[in-house]
């Protein structure tokens, strides 16, 4: 199959993503893409399909139908090797609370196949940057919610991934910590990483993301930079992302449509 040069430049490409839980559709033909150096925001109401999309992208869920390419590679055909390039921070991450941040990051480094001296350096560096150094040898269970989120963030970027997938990364983190994380994300994007962020914080998405995909009921409502979204929502040049979001997601929802019939044994498009 020939892939065009334009498509080759994409780090993430999702097409016609369908997923249902017990017959209830969660994703109905969702699509979007992202390029190197880009921070893409994924926003939508509760139950819109954001977390499902991100879990599919990082391999924790399998779609009923659709195409997922990461750096040009078909993720459903090779669901393992692409993960070496991906960092993931789940929404409300569960962590092994019996470990200390030091031990946890060491463990993550090992399963990320980092050289052992590199693990120690990165752990020290990240714990210092994220103001976690004083808590490095206390169990995660004793940390505050925000500190736990920082530990999860450190684990996501420990191996310096070129693709970072973050599901509501700023929940529970104090303003200074949020600022720190946003700066870090911007720096990673400047260095060429692709960052995909799901968030309900529309002002953050507006300032942080180059492009935003608005999803509702598992479908794309609109995708583009703020100017394109304003045009689509007819909010005028001064319209905020919140105005755009409210306008586009409150419009009548199209009736549910039948998913494409899976082809072949592997239920892929």
């Amino acid at each position: 199959m020939v892939v065009s040069a334009d498509r080759m430049a994409l780090t993430i490409e999702l097409q016609q993503l369908w997923k249902s839980y017990d017959g209830k559709p969660a994703l109905q033909g969702l699509f979007f893409d992202a390029r190197p150096g880009e921070i893409v925001g994924l926003i939508g109401p509760n139950g819109a399909g954001k977390t499902t999309t991100l879990k599919i992208l990082v391999g924790l869920l399998r779609p009923d139908y659709g195409l997922i390419r990461v750096k040009g590679n078909d993720v459903l055909a090779d669901p393992i090797s692409y993960k070496a390039d991906v960092g993931y921070m789940p929404e409300a991450p569960t962590l092994p609370e019996y470990l200390t941040p030091n031990e946890f990051l060491g463990y993550v480094g090992r399963i990320r196949n980092l050289p052992r001296d590199r693990i120690a350096d990165r752990t020290r560096e990240l714990l210092a940057i994220l103001d976690l150094a004083p808590k490095a040898d206390e169990t995660i269970a004793s940390l505050s919610k925000g500190m736990k989120a920082k530990v999860a963030f450190a684990a996501a970027i420990l191996h310096e991934p070129s693709i970072l997938v973050l599901d509501e990364p700023l929940i529970g983190i104090d303003p200074a910590g949020q600022h720190l994380l946003k700066e870090r994300l911007a720096a990673m994007a400047r260095a060429g990483a692709t960052v995909l962020v799901s968030t309900h914080q529309l002002d953050t998405a507006e300032r942080l993301c180059g492009r935003v995909a608005i999803v509702n009921h598992g479908r794309n409502v609109a995708t583009g930079d703020l100017a394109a979204l304003r045009a689509q929502a007819h909010t005028g040049a001064e319209g905020s992302l919140e105005d755009v979001f409210l306008r586009l997601t409150q419009e009548a929802v199209a009736p549910a449509i039948e998913p494409p019939r899976p082809r072949g044994w592997f239920r892929r498009g």
């Binding site: 470990l99 693990i119 269970a141």
Partner: protein, 513 residues
């Protein structure tokens, strides 16, 4: 009584409702009760036969050991919670103007009724089996069962009294005293295994001895000894009085959620919360055992990770105490030097494995996202899980064998030891294999929950019996030397472990969160 009844009914509906409303309705609950009946009968009959063969002081001791074990479990429970409360009760009931005594009565009734509901029939069958074994008419089981219910009520009240004391006098060493009573109540059990042990149940003015003496009188068709009747009344009445005096103490601030889910349900949130509570509290102590991720290969890394988890989250301490309590109070020592004594111990070891497996399924499975979002397959993770399970259980086996060595002059033959040595490895293998496939859902009645317990236990026994068969077969072809039989056993264990690791790796390759 109105509010107490409402609370009691809420607890009952919360705990048993899901099972009755579930896919299999009361049938599933009935199945669970029936599963315990054969072991109830076996336990009762065995106990009855042992008592029959013993003289009166030994008979009292044999009956007192399980009663002391029951009290120890109650004391253990009081160290943790002592009161059953779901998180929703804290949010909606304990914020209302309910008097502490109203809540405690409801809780006491709930605990008693649910215990009788879950194990009452098996206990009744055990009582019948004991009377049959002693050659008494079957109706003699009624007062025997009645004594057990009264004793159980006494245990539950004791646990509540200790909780109230702990909350009311936070600076008093109530926990320390509880631990001391726990150890002291178990200590005489050692006298069953080793007749030279100076402390014995008979003659001690403790509740287990008093109730055991009354039980023995029922089983022998003799008159109830007045001293023991008085002693039982003093103990039960004393605790009831203490409970009444203390039960209007405000203790809500000292309680925490313990009843995390209804029967057959899995309430992940509450269980996680409980685990966090425990981990945070034990963290300072347990981090002295360090996890060094920079060392060893992948399987070693994961084995150490799981061992550190089991150590730091308190599971190890919990199952160690449970193992000691149950092994000491199972009347194993009283079983004499017979080979069958290894069977209840093996059953306990496999049940401990079931507890470890459930713990993993409840609060550790979620952490697998860390492994599954990397490019490494989860084989090493599950191999480590199996090896850690086996290691923990083998520690308990080691303790059991050490206990045997210390208390017996006669050494058990290797074929009898093969069962408790091989069963932990086999049950670790079966537990891990199941965990790669079973997802414990918060469903109304989860057969996964039962499956983990019973299949793990069954698998452990089958592995243990296979090891025993290998040693017996070796003897039948002329291998009589203990060293040679031990070599056969070690070879079998290595083969079983390798096979288990291979299967687990294959199953893990297709694991889905």
């Amino acid at each position: 009584m109105g509010r107490t009844l409402t609370l009691f009914v809420y607890k009952l509906q919360f705990f048993f409702g899901p099972a009755f409303r579930g896919r299999f309705g009361p049938l599933a609950y009935l199945a669970l009760i029936l599963i315990f009946l054969p072991s109830g009968f076996g336990f009762g009959f065995g106990l009855g036969m042992t008592v029959k063969a013993a003289d009166t002081p030994n008979g009292v001791g044999i009956l007192a050991a399980p009663l002391a074990g029951l009290l120890s479990v109650g004391l253990l429970y009081s160290l943790g919670a002592g009161v059953t409360a779901h998180a929703s009760e804290f949010d909606f009931f304990l914020t209302a103007d309910i008097r502490p005594r109203q809540y405690l009565v409801a809780d006491l009734l709930f605990q008693l009724i649910s215990l009788l509901g879950a194990g009452g029939l098996a206990a009744g069958v055990a009582a019948v089996a004991m009377t049959v074994a002693m050659g008494q008419p079957v109706y003699a089981a009624v007062p025997l069962f009645g004594l057990l219910v009264v004793y159980e009520f006494f245990v539950l009240m004791t646990a509540q009294v200790l909780v109230i004391l702990r909350v009311r006098y936070p600076k008093a060493p109530v926990r320390l005293v509880t631990i001391a009573i726990l150890i002291l109540s178990l200590l005489p059990s050692a006298g069953l295994a080793n007749p030279a042990f100076p402390i014995r149940f008979a003659g001690l003015p403790i509740p287990a001895t008093a109730f055991a003496a009354l039980g023995l009188a029922v089983l022998q068709g003799a008159a109830w000894p007045v001293v023991d009747v008085l002693l039982a009344i003093v103990w039960a009445g004393g605790i009831a009085l203490a409970w009444y005096v203390l039960s209007d103490t405000y203790i809500v601030h000292g309680l925490r959620p313990t009843m995390s889910a209804g029967f057959g349900q899995v309430d992940m949130g509450s269980r996680m919360e409980m685990q966090r509570h425990l981990t945070a509290r034990l963290g300072g102590v347990t981090t002295r055992v360090r996890f060094r991720p920079e060392r060893g290969g992948d399987t070693s890394l994961m084995t150490r990770l799981h061992l550190v988890r089991i150590w730091r989250d308190g599971s190890f301490v919990y199952i160690a105490i449970l193992a000691i309590v149950v092994i000491l109070s199972s009347g194993f020592g009283a079983g004499g030097a017979s080979a069958t004594g290894a069977v209840p111990v093996t059953q306990i070891l496999t049940l401990l494995m079931g507890i470890l497996a459930m713990n993993w399924a409840f609060y550790e499975r979620e952490n697998l996202w860390i492994v599954l979002t990397t490019a490494k397959p989860p084989g090493a993770y599950f191999r480590g899980l199996m090896l850690s399970f086996a290691a923990v259980s083998l520690v308990a086996t080691g303790g059991f064998i050490a206990f045997l060595s210390a208390t017996r002059s006669v050494r058990l033959p290797i074929e009898n030891l093969a069962l408790p040595i091989a069963a932990p490895i086999a049950s670790a293998f079966v537990a891990t294999a199941l965990l790669t496939r079973i997802k414990v859902k918060p469903s109304a009645f989860s057969f996964a929950v039962l499956g983990i317990f019973f299949v793990v236990s069954l698998g452990g026994f089958m592995g243990g019996l296979a090891a025993q068969a290998a040693v017996v077969a070796a003897r039948s072809v002329g291998v009589f030397a203990a060293e040679a039989q031990a070599t056969v056993l070690v070879g079998f264990l290595l083969a079983l472990t390798s096979f288990g690791l291979w299967i687990v790796t294959r199953l893990a390759a297709s694991f889905r969160l």
